[in-house]
Amino acid sequence: MPTAVLDPETLRRHVPDLDSVEPCLDSGGFKSVYAATVRGKKEALKVLGVRRIIAEPDLVDAFYKEQIARIGREIKALRECRMLELVRLGSIAPVEFDVNNEKYIAYSEEFLEGQNLWKLIILHGQPPALGELVQLFRSLLRCIRKLWEHGYVHRDIKPANVIKTPDHRRPFVLLDLGIAFSVDETNLTFKPEDRMPPATLRYLAPEMMQPDFRQHLDFRADLYTTGMTVFEYAAGRHPLARDSDDLMRTISRALRQPPAPLKQHRQDLPDSFCNLVDGLLKKKPALRPANMAMLFQKLEAMA
């Protein structure tokens, strides 16, 4: 079900402090994103349309509450984990409004110049060099470490959620903590037993498919998706999924199929780098090297 895209004028009517709003930049799944000017400053306005992503009317309220809670967690996590490699909050706190009897929530984050990695991958440009890949790897590891220090697992690291920026201090910035998991807080998923775990299926850590994953989930799920993201950016193709795959096939590959080694796609990259990426793609979390100091040390040696 497509996310509702609202016109700029409607948004200006409902969201205070907006000077101007440009047409929708991006939409999909839960949200649509707009470039907006707020009190003279450019920000990314994120708008969530609840009714469009849920079919049964009597579940709308429950689902709406879940989304409000998720946005609350996202904002809390971003406040707690301020760092260059993570997107920062904007000046618009969550605003709830109705348009044609449909519920919406809008809030803002900083506007980042640059392009997300997914768009760069589909452009099929020059394959990124080792130095850039190491930078990306390090940026994501720093985010994971910081989030885990505060008890969070991002759960949605993927090329579309990483922006490559022209700012050398923060060459890669991770977005969207919308489905972040907290080991210290209550589960937010409404009727979890009836639903797939909140995640992007193509980037789903295998342990997330276990019915009791909430008992055991830790940052190694993010290491897995980091491996996926770095692999896909380096190789220009997803390590497992194929465009022709249906849902079951995608899940089956995530659970059972070992990915081809990165070296097969990028023979110019050193074995040490390829092995590190491949190591994060192991199905069992215990088999992914999780010693952060060791990972950073290995990356330093390659930089």
Binding site: H216, D218, R220, P258, P261, G279, K282, K283, K284, P285, A286, L287, P289, A290, N291, A293, M294
Partner: protein, 408 residues
């Protein structure tokens, strides 16, 4: 990959000769078998041979909890007053009542070792005797977690290894093992590494340890811990030492009695008596020991049975290849050290390939020597399929694609 002497009763200078000959890189001392004062003396001697000697002390805390017998053979653990500063016979109720008992015992144990001239300190733990899904396993996990915390708190200045002692039965449940490893690889703060013990039901049961699932589980522990940055020291690993090295082990250990070549709580139980075992020769090509008289029968018919190492001279032909009993272990150490050099590679896949070739060579050697002699049951080839299958299962569970075992 270091090879350490697993210390036990009747040392009689064996470890000194092992260090002087360069057959071992260090010693894991057994307090059951040496008084504290004598231990300090031996530590001084060992350091004098080489300052790089790796000296460790297994506190054998598990014996105070897991040995259930009205008259346990605790030796110096019981009689040496100094060991009383950390060695306690704890009941399960005490250990599961909270973490303060565990913290106190860990602190006391590490503080005791800190006064000794050791290269690293080993934390106390109990043995997981049946299953990873048990109260014992929870207690063991707490010991491991708190050992990491204690080394951060006590600022010991030397590496600290947490003891992970598991029965071979517990290792048979692969799913539970993987879940356990998932937990212990996420310790914060972590210890430097682990001292791993795999307990058989008794030290003479060759089939207990030479079992494919047990070997695969033991290898997986080494692989998982080492790839997460932990040093892994295996006690009583004997002939499996090189294979554990392939999986990432930092060290393995073996000693002169059968109860120092396989870990079992049996050594803390009343002795059953019996004769001294016949001396054996560890043949690299067979990946096994044969009796000295089998060696004597084979050394000309099948010269490859000999390792071609210096300690072959300890089995003189003019004496029917019978070595002095006290020197048998030197031959074991030199042969295992040489196997480590032959098989262990920084690249686990290369190491597995070398292991596969070594097992194939051993099979071919058995084919030939069995036409000459009828081998003693302990000398036969029963270990080979277990090691082969154990390596294959390990490669599978460690998600190692493209290994030499893929085709089998």
């Amino acid at each position: 990959m270091r090879l350490l002497a697993q210390h036990g009763a009747s040392n009689g200078g064996k470890t000194t000769r092992g260090l002087e000959g360069g057959y071992i890189d260090g010693i894991i001392y057994s307090p059951r078998d040496i008084a504290a004062e004598k231990l300090r003396e031996q530590l001084r001697e060992a350091t004098a041979i080489s300052p790089d000697t790796h000296l460790l002390f297994d506190p054998q805390y598990y014996a105070g909890h897991n040995v259930v017998d009205p008259e346990p053979r605790l030796g110096r653990l019981d009689t040496c007053e100094e060991y009383g500063s950390y060695f306690r016979q704890r009941r399960r109720r005490e250990l599961e009542s909270g973490t303060s008992v565990l913290r106190d015992d860990i602190d006391d144990c590490l503080r005791f070792q800190d006064k000794l001239n050791l290269s690293g300190l080993i934390g106390p733990n109990i043995l997981i005797s049946r299953s990873f899904d048990s109260v014992e396993a929870v207690i063991a996990k707490n010991f491991i977690r708190l050992t990491g915390a204690a080394c951060a708190k006590l600022k010991l200045g030397r590496p600290v290894y947490a003891t992970l002692a598991i029965s071979r039965e517990a290792l048979l449940d692969k799913k539970e093992l993987v879940e356990f490893l998932t937990d212990v690889t996420l310790l914060d703060p972590p210890p430097k590494g682990f001292y791993v013990l795999v307990a058989s039901r008794n030290e003479d049961a060759r089939s207990d340890i030479f079992n494919a699932d047990v070997i695969a589980g033991w290898l997986l522990i080494n692989y998982t811990l080492s790839l997460n940055g932990y040093a892994v020291i295996n006690g009583y690993s004997d002939l499996l030492t090189p294979f554990l090295g392939v999986a990432g082990a930092t060290a393995g250990a073996t000693g002169w009695w059968s109860n120092l070549r396989a870990f079992s709580l049996g050594r803390f139980l009343p002795a059953g008596g019996g004769r001294l075992p016949v001396q054996r020769y560890l043949s690299k090509v067979l990946l096994n020991r044969i009796t000295f008289f089998e060696l004597n029968q084979l050394r000309h018919r099948y010269p490859n049975i000999l390792n071609g190492l210096g300690t072959d001279d300890l089995y003189p032909e003019d004496k029917g290849s019978e070595p002095e009993r006290s020197q048998e272990v030197l031959q074991t150490w030199e042969a295992i050290k040489s196997l480590n050099q032959d098989l262990v590679d920084a690249d686990v896949k290369k190491g597995l390939k070398l292991c596969r070739e070594a097992i194939k060579r051993a099979g071919a050697a058995y084919d030939e020597i069995e036409t000459y002699v009828r081998l003693d049951p302990k000398s036969n080839r029963d270990h080979l399929p277990a090691i082969f299958e154990g390596l294959r299962l390990f490669a599978e569970s460690a998600e190692l694609e493209g290994t030499a075992f893929d085709a089998d």
